[in-house]
Amino acid sequence: MTSDSIAAAARETAPAGARDFLRGQIRWRWSEIVFWLATLLPFVLAPDYLVLASQVAISALFALSLDLILGFSGIVSLGHAAYFGVGAYTAGLISVWGWGEPLTGLVVAGIAAGLVGYVTSFVIARFRHLALIMITLGFGLLLQEAANSAGWLTGGFNGLQGIHTWPLLGKFEFDLYGYTAYAYALAGLFLIFLVARRIIHSPFGLALRGIRENGARMPAIGAPTHSHIRTIYTIAAIIAGIAGAMLTQSTETVSLEALGFQRSADVLVMLILGGTGKLYGGIIGAVVYMVARDQFAGLNPQYWYFWIGLLLIAVVMFLPNGILGGLELLAESAKAQWAKSKWAKTP
């Protein structure tokens, strides 16, 4: 075989093989469609839990934003609540200052969080691993104390008072049962999920996976690694800010807890529970974590973190790729089993 004939053969097979292979990776799967249809079930099956469902959706959006940097780009963060908090306080402040329209509130909050994210990304892009954990942790603590001491602006320890969110689209009041809140959060989650999905399957998404897999190698193929990291970090900050704003708007309160260490740790736990680098991992993780917290807190109001700790250890020990990774394994082995039995029947 000469290299010419190989090249000729490659040119013939490439359109069929290589393109189809990559197309197959980004195709919508049935399980995805079923999943998104299932997110509508709470309206019918659990109307008493819509407030919880809306908070699950908001946490899922926050976890999705962390997945973009942690799961897809390998940028570890223990201070991601900083951007959530900036979004949450921005939405709260503009409401207090007299503009309670939710959608414009989201946009402004997203821009504010994105700006903070862009500025911090210049530091983030230069570090990795343990140093990054410390820097993000430090930044989160810094911002929390700044918000605490700026009581004139943020309400300090007591939280921001007097937030009122206007009806969504001028029609739908944010009711006590959480109908509007869940519809709002779910729509936001779905739309931003579509954007995230598009990012992951773009050339930029491929570059991010390259950074995650081997950041040191990227410059050797001509990749502006720092610039890529700054872009995705800013995008993740915008999404985190939007999630924060949604929480403020739907609960009409915001306190220091919105940008505290606990929230940064919680979102990390959710993502790892669900599985990193899979887009759906954060969403699954948020559902499991929030529902478990709700149930455990009912069982044992004082010590519910004990059970969360146990759950986390069990998942990491037995399902290293998270719950979603475990489900994928299960589906694969079931598929293999099915193929085997079919093969056995037809000799």
């Binding site: 290299s3 190989i6 090249a7 053969a9 490659a10 040119r11 097979t13 490439a14 359109p15 093989g17 290589a18 393109r19 292979f21 990559l22 197309r23 980004i26 598009r198 990012i199 399957h201 773009s202 050339p203 930029f204 998404g205 491929l206 570059a207 996976r209 390259g210 897999e213 081997n214 040191a216 190698r217 990227m218 410059p219 050797a220 193929i221 001509g222 990749a223 502006p224 690694t225 610039s227 890529h228 872009t231 995008i235």
Partner: protein, 276 residues
């Protein structure tokens, strides 16, 4: 196209007198010094790769061969000295900017993307070269030409059959080839290969060097290699580095005849330079 550019380089070289050499050098460096504390790894190194050359960099272990590649590609900053790609001074450019201008390297120890398939990895390199890797609003599959190009590169290196597998599942020799495929995807003008056949069985390493020898003459190639038979078969010029210093530089015949080289380096090998 490469030749036209080369011509332009020659013209501009005569204008910026003293930059690079006037004989159409693709990559040159002079006065390169680098030390880590008291350890001198490069001492006043000068190197000049004429366009299209197959250039071997040899020397005993610890001579500073890989360090020199790190210095030329910007992975390390020299303490002193200047580096020219064509006639352009690239001493201050970061590694990725040098790659974008056509100065590309491979690694002695595989440095790949374990979870990406070979196709994705090479497509990524093509996307970075075409400056579309910043695009996040269009799906990768819209760039069919780039995917085809990546597949074509893999096919010429005999990797088409395994290109859908994650890199970590490829055989070692295939991973070595993928190193070269990644470099080729950046369309290098100057390719620096750090022991491309390291760890590959002798039979396969011959195939690997045949693939390197088959590269377009538009690409200037420097390679580090310990197998003297391969060096003398494929190199048109050889530089011997010892203790961070250039011992001698010349054609294979000159190197084979050089007493100092025999004494310092080749003497250890039995009748190594047969070729010449």
């Amino acid at each position: 196209m490469g030749q036209v550019e080369m011509g332009q380089n020659a013209v501009s070289e005569t204008i910026t007198a003293g930059a690079g050499n006037a004989d159409g050098s693709a990559l040159s460096a002079r006065g390169i010094n680098k030390s880590f504390g008291s350890l001198v790894v490069a001492a006043d190194v000068a190197i000049n790769l004429p366009a299209g050359v197959r250039y071997a960099l040899i020397g005993p272990n610890g001579a500073g061969k890989t360090t020199l590649i790190n210095l030329l590609t910007g992975m390390l900053r020299p303490d002193a000295g200047r580096i020219f790609l064509g006639s352009d001074d690239i001493t201050a450019l970061p590694p990725e900017a040098r790659v974008q201008r056509g100065l590309v390297r491979t690694y002695q120890i595989n440095s790949l993307f374990p979870q990406l398939s070979a196709l994705e990895a090479v497509t990524l390199a093509v996307c970075e070269r075409r400056r579309i890797a910043r695009t996040w609003w269009r799906p990768l599959t819209a760039y069919t030409e780039d995917i085809d190009e990546a597949h074509g590169i893999l096919a010429t290196l005999n990797l088409a059959a395994v290109c859908y597998r994650p890199t970590r599942e490829l055989a070692y020799g295939q991973q070595r080839l993928l190193e070269i495929a990644l470099a080729l995807a950046t369309r290098p003008k100057v390719l620096l290969l750090d022991e491309p056949a390291a760890g590959v069985p002798r039979e396969e390493s011959r195939d690997l060097f045949a693939a390197i020898a088959g590269l377009s003459r538009d690409i200037t190639v420097l390679f580090i290699e310990h197998d003297m038979e391969l060096v003398f078969r494929f190199a048109s010029r050889i530089l011997v580095l010892v203790g961070g210093r250039v011992l001698v530089e010349g054609t294979p015949a000159e190197i084979a005849a050089d007493e100092r080289v025999r004494a310092v380096y080749l003497g250890k090998e039995h009748g190594a330079p047969r070729h010449g």
